[in-house]
């Protein structure tokens, strides 16, 4: 099935929760409401026509200019050989997205990664804690406004170098 057909199928089942097919230069995607993404995903995984068995990638992207954090789901179906991209936009100040860890086990760790690096709260996640950074790390480094703390447990994060000369950006 192509993205258009999948979108029509989803719209028939969920109505306004599912947006129209949007297209960029390369990819096309469907935008979904962050509070209902789990139901949409469950249908896509279970329905015989779509049968997306695998969550290939789950990424978070910070868009401060639009005031939201976007979570991007790349799904693939081994049975039918088709792919689909879903996007949800969560409010940047208190980003909350329903977890998909009940649909695909792979979502468990991928969501923990997005929680760790972008601070998105995945509602209903069984084990939402930092995965790559230490538990007592402050802030979410992949947010565009992240400022690194000058030290971590007394270890400086600033490297002083006598060789560093601040040159003007353009001559």
């Amino acid at each position: 099935m192509d993205t258009q057909a999948i979108q029509r199928k989803l719209e028939a089942a969920f109505g306004g929760v599912v947006g129209p097919v949007a297209s960029g230069r390369v990819e096309s995607w469907i935008e979904v409401d962050p509070d209902r993404i789990d139901e949409v995903a469950a249908m896509l995984a279970g329905d015989a026509d779509t049968r997306f068995e695998c969550l290939s990638n789950l990424s978070g992207v910070d868009y401060p200019a639009h005031g939201h954090i976007q979570v991007v789901y790349n799904l693939i179906s081994y049975t039918h050989g088709h792919e689909l991209t879903l996007k949800v936009n969560a409010d940047r100040d208190s980003p909350e997205v329903k977890t998909l860890s009940g649909v695909w086990a792979a979502a468990n760790w991928l969501e923990r990664e997005v929680f760790d690096l972008l601070g998105v709260n995945f509602v209903g996640h069984p084990d939402l804690r930092r995965i790559l950074l230490p538990d007592d790390w402050v802030g979410n480094p992949l947010r565009k406004d992240y400022v690194e703390a000058p030290d971590y447990h007394g270890i400086s994060t600033i490297r002083e170098s006598m060789l560093r000369i601040d040159l003007p950006v353009k001559d």
């Binding site: 990819e27 969550l55 290939s56 992207v61 081994y78 792919e83 086990a105 760790w109 230490p134």
Partner: protein, 380 residues
């Protein structure tokens, strides 16, 4: 009361132990840690604790620009760096609408397949060593060494290659390279049979790996296992065959799958053997590639300040540890806006917590080794 009498009366209680394994442990293939809850020798659960090798590669990408990120991709999976190079190059090329010259694509495939054999040889040797067979490790590394020499001739580096560029590859094949590859392949095949005789079909080895930690197809797909780990569970999915990228469509090769010779489909032995079988397939591809490589340029013209138009792209390449899934966003500037890569080891690592239930502690080593987990690839 003596212990014997207490035991006979059923009064001797056992209790759950919590063991720490790692971060520095010889069989953890890098720096990773498990917190093992065990009742005697049987694990209740082994919880992986990752992140010791997090080098914030995705954050670095946002600072160094499109061309500048290429050497960093080597460090995502430094055991098979070519595929990471290729993934990144394909992201930039798809966004920028650049077409790679055909000779460039062939150079990429020759490099990537050599790198895959290199990685699989390490996996094979290291699995043996983790189980307790030290000698085959030296045999495997002896063969790997020659690939390192070949790749050194190609690009000057032996581990972190930095060979590919956006638009093609950095250097053409050196004189006589095709002959050397063909000679090496003739030499390699008997060596793999030797490893099979020495290790793969040995009684102790098959007993140790057969039927251990069976991953069902449904579980493999749900956890997003990819590459050899997925195919070991009997699922015939290889990106090079299903959606041929680059020039993989030009070659004839098979996709081996696990069929449970030594126990269950998707056990440790199947996962181990996938690497052996895949080396033979890579040999087939390489033979055809060095034979068919066309003349011409190896790199397209790409601006030094490369600014792909705004947009996002999802690119998948079949790396040594399976389908490496890249998501990349451009905002039209000379720096990538966001790069995310989901690697094969990340998926394999996440399955261990569930898979470890009820296994022996000693089997955890076999599980890590046969999933071919490379810790830096988990942490990036």
């Amino acid at each position: 009361m003596s212990v014997e009498i207490e035991f006979e009366q059923g009064g001797l209680a056992t209790e759950e132990m919590t063991l720490n394994m790692g971060p520095q442990h010889p069989s953890t293939h890098g720096v990773l840690r498990f917190i093992v809850k065990a009742d005697g020798e049987v694990m209740r659960k082994a919880t992986p604790d990752v992140g010791y090798l997090h080098r914030s590669i995705e954050k670095i990408a946002e600072k160094v620009g499109w061309h500048g990120f290429m050497p960093y991709t080597d460090r995502v999976d430094y055991v098979a760096a070519m595929a990471c190079n290729q993934g990144w190059a394909m992201c930039a090329e798809t966004l920028g609408g650049i077409e790679v010259p055909r000779r460039g694509e062939y150079c990429r495939i020759i490099a990537a397949e050599l790198s895959r054999i290199c990685s699989h040889l390490l996996a094979i040797g290291a699995t043996g060593m983790d189980i307790g067979a030290v000698t085959p490790f030296t045999h495997a590394l002896r063969e790997r060494e020659m690939i390192n020499d070949l790749i050194e001739e190609l690009c000057g580096a032996r581990l972190t290659y930095n060979y590919m560029r956006i638009g093609g590859v950095a250097w053409d094949l050196p004189p006589g390279f095709r002959k050397k590859v063909a000679r090496y392949l003739d030499h390699l095949e008997p060596c793999i049979h030797e490893i099979n005789d020495l290790l793969s079909y040995g009684k102790i080895y098959t007993e140790r790996l057969g039927g251990v930690a069976v991953v069902s197809p449904a579980m493999a797909m749900s956890y997003g296992l990819v590459g050899p780990n997925l195919r070991a569970s009997g699922l015939k999915h290889d990106l090079r065959k299903d959606r041929p990228y680059s020039v993989y469509g030009d070659f004839e090769f098979d996709v081996p799958v696990g069929h449970g010779e030594m126990g269950g489909v998707g056990d440790c032995w199947d996962r181990y053997m996938m690497r052996i079988w895949e080396i033979f397939e890579s040999v087939k591809i390489l033979r055809q590639a060095v034979d068919k490589i066309p003349e011409g340029p190896v790199i397209a013209k790409v601006a030094r300040t490369f600014k792909p138009p705004a947009g996002d792209v999802h690119v998948r390449v079949e790396a040594a540890r399976g389908d490496m899934s890249w998501y990349c966003v451009s905002d039209g500037s000379e720096y990538p806006y966001r790069v995310h890569v989901r690697t094969g080891s990340f998926a394999a690592m996440s399955i261990i917590e569930e898979l470890s239930k009820g296994l022996m502690i000693a089997d955890l080593v076999a599980v890590i080794a046969t999933f071919d987990i490379v810790a830096p690839e988990v942490d990036r």
